[in-house]
């Protein structure tokens, strides 16, 4: 999956997301830098139902096989106007880090950090949207008791 394929997946996920608030915040711009293969830069804030906000930072470089190499990402899901996340999935991304580095979820408070995965290979926007869906369906998240089931 290269940068273009990832962008296509993101577009499909957004088009099919039933929890987005219809307030106009589109189109969302994804930037491809002139590298070979292209590098990927995306920052966007989405409004969701019940005054929730998803703030996305997704930055990645890819190798020639289309695999992500380095990433800086954060999927921050919170109440509108709240400084604290309901959850924020990230790789502590003040700088780019290898996809082989672990990633975390912060729940309710920045200090409340839970290890989420040993790598961030599978923790992308698709995963964030799955967490959104679980939230609205009131299903447990992977980091919660009873979570880790496929839905």
């Amino acid at each position: 999956m290269g940068a273009y394929q990832y962008a296509e997946i993101i577009g499909r996920l957004l088009n099919s997301c039933e929890y987005l608030d219809p307030r106009p915040c589109f189109p969302s711009k994804i930037e491809f830098a002139p590298t070979d293969p292209p590098s990927f830069y995306w920052k966007q804030k989405f409004f969701l139902l019940n005054d929730k906000v998803l703030t996305v930072k997704d930055i990645a470089t890819f190798d020639s096989e289309g695999r992500m190499v380095d990433r800086a990402f954060a999927y921050d899901f919170c109440d509108k106007g709240s400084p604290q996340p309901i959850w924020r999935i990230c790789n502590h991304s003040n700088s780019m880090k290898s996809v082989n580095d672990p990633c975390h979820v912060h729940v309710g408070h920045d200090d409340n950090e839970i290890a989420l995965a040993n790598t961030s290979h599978d923790i992308d926007f698709t995963y964030a949207m799955r967490c959104i869906k679980k939230f609205y369906l009131q299903k447990p998240q992977d980091w919660e008791e009873g979570g880790c089931d496929e839905s």
Partner: protein
């Protein structure tokens, strides 16, 4: 409904951006190559700079170096990587015309010509 717009800025956009950041955070656009994340206080600027540094820094440095080697008023002996005159650039020929080889060759030839003028 199209929600995603793909944009592909040219390299000059990134050059302009790092120069802008350099002017903003270290006070001199020409010192852009000295920028680092620690001096960039705005989170969005820092993220963008991090992206540029990871993905494009070598390209920016190469472009800067090459423009320094060939000021506009000077006839460029070697031209662009892919338009090198055959036989005019032995290092590039031997190393299959790669840009880094071209740059190294140019640096060497400048050194040789300097020595020859002593």
């Amino acid at each position: 409904m199209t929600m995603i717009e793909i944009i592909s800025p040219p390299l000059s956009h990134y050059h302009d951006t790092v120069r802008l950041f350099a002017a903003r955070y270290i006070g001199d656009a020409d010192e852009w190559y000295k920028l680092n994340e620690q001096v960039i206080t705005d989170g969005d600027d820092r993220d963008y700079f991090t992206f540029i540094r990871m993905a494009l820094w070598d390209k920016l440095m190469e472009e800067e170096f090459r423009s320094w080697m060939s000021p506009p008023e000077q006839v460029d002996l070697f031209g662009e990587c892919d338009t090198t005159e055959p036989g005019g650039n032995p290092g590039s020929f031997i190393l299959d015309g790669h840009c880094w080889a071209l740059i190294n060759t140019r640096r060497s030839l400048v050194g040789f010509s300097t020595l020859a003028n002593i």
